[in-house]
Amino acid sequence: MHNRKKPDAPPSEAETKALKEKTFMYKSLVDVVLQKKHVKDKSVETLTLVGKLLKLNPDFYSLWNMRREILLESFPSLATASPEAKLDLPDVRDVELQISADGIRRNPKSYGAWHHRLWIADRFVMDFEGELQLCKEFLRADQRNFHCWNYRRAIHQRSQLPPLHEFEYSTEKIQENFSNYSAFHHRSCFVKESGMDISALIEQECSVIENAIFTEPDDQSAWWYQQFLFTWLLTQYNDLGISLDTYVQSLEQQLATVQSLLEIEPNSRWAMNSLVFLVGVFDRVRGQYTSEFTLSQVDTLHALRKQLLDQLCVLDPNHKNRYLHLIRNLP
């Protein structure tokens, strides 16, 4: 349904014949399995047939249900299993995890295959490290697979593994590729768990952002992470144990960094959008700031923002109406 190229020529007679045969084989297997479902045949034979069909089509959601129904029949204690009361049946678990993995390999975005895995994880004693390794493998194949990222976070929640691992994993993925929005998102979930001294953390995160935006100014991911960082720090500075002064210093440094980028990339609309955003943050801080900003400082930033928005209307006409909206709503 997605990403299937239209062939230049209609299928040949041989191709059509092969497809018909494949379809017939598949449909016959479906009919057998659905018949077994209808008569509530919960035998091992059915389980095997269901596994075979799932290999062909991991998106056939009722099949995953059938597997679970049969497991519940075979292992009555499964009905009351929970994260607090797990079954220690590694052989049974491994069969299910293998079928799930086969399903994921067949369709990395199969909701059914991923959910079955989580269902197993909540009821059987698991090797959580092994699950994280599996996630690593799948994210190597597709670093943006949100099913995998979600599953990884779900496993993390269920394991006692330190959040720092997740923070460090996000570093690994970002270093591989700055355009990995999923990794930056993951980082935003775990940055509060870095265990670092907050000033060192701010410096580090700003350095990550700076690296990315100077290397690939057209890639959105680091710019959105910048937006996350400065919004998060603004709402959390008290709890994080930094003073508003320190926050404002970081903000001013960031403004300076982006302005220096703009000097070498004068048409970078992301740099311009970033400055507009940062001046907005500056406005939000002003109300809370104890020291006084000189009027000229404020005027300079406001003038810069207005100038940038005017420029963006010309440079980025696709988004003109958004810029006009922002201009209309300037304080």
């Binding site: 190229k5 239209k6 249900n65 949100f146 979600n150 998102h185 935003s188 696709n318 988004h319």
Partner: protein, 303 residues
Amino acid sequence: MSGVYWGLTALALLGVDLHSESVSSSILEWIFSCFDEASGGFAGNTGHDPHILYTLSALQILALYGKLGDIQREKVISFVASLQQADGSFAGDKWGEIDTRFSYCALSCLSLLGALEGGHVDKEAAVRFIVRCKNFDGGFGAVPGAESHAGQIFCCIGALSIAGALEEVDADLLGWWLSERQCDSGGLNGRPEKQADVCYSWWILSSLSILGRTEWIDVQKLADFILQCQDKDDGGISDRPGNMPDIFHTFFGICGLLLLRHFDEHPLDAGITMVDVDPTYALPRRIVEQLGLYAQSFPPAGK
């Protein structure tokens, strides 16, 4: 069931009178063959298991036919209600997969059945869960902590629209993020750095429409992209130019063009009058109006 919904609604939007189709009675018969008496839910096909996704699709098709009155209303309501969890989220079925897609399906089902009020589900808790799925970029993911994705965003915005809770949305921020989904090709992607895909013309345009910010993208470029995705041989629409068309992308491509008001400037010949689509319910607007369905939206942000 969803495939039938995409196909029939696409036909309805093209102004086809579904009742005149001889296949209609078999479709309705088939829909009811997918109803599971025990649970009150509808399955994706005969002999399959009930699920909230296909329950919504079934109700949507029945709404197209004006046959919502023919269902076992209390049973369907209790199926939907049974899926709400303690944290306000909704599972897809008894097996417990949680996803904001199901929050949307649940609220839309109940709204279609006139059962949103009446305490069948905890609406406030449903909203609270959706808000927990809101991210720093203003977008929404499948579960709390999940990355923002245009499809999930539609589901959350749609759900909040039905629940009348759009004030939970930072419309300027989300509007910005959604507007940045427009690629050089003019098409929209679902997340940063991904490829454009026609179906996002729906997920994103409907969200922007509800938020009153459709004009924050270049509408002409998007319309051109959708049109480029139409297969000149068989008339279907694919995910991107040169790919195989399918019913899913055809439906969402048509919806996208309707939300872009494309047919106002470019009416179709052969006497086809396009029917407007409702961005919250993904049904013809006149059906939504006939049923008196509630949907909150923001007025256009203006230029």
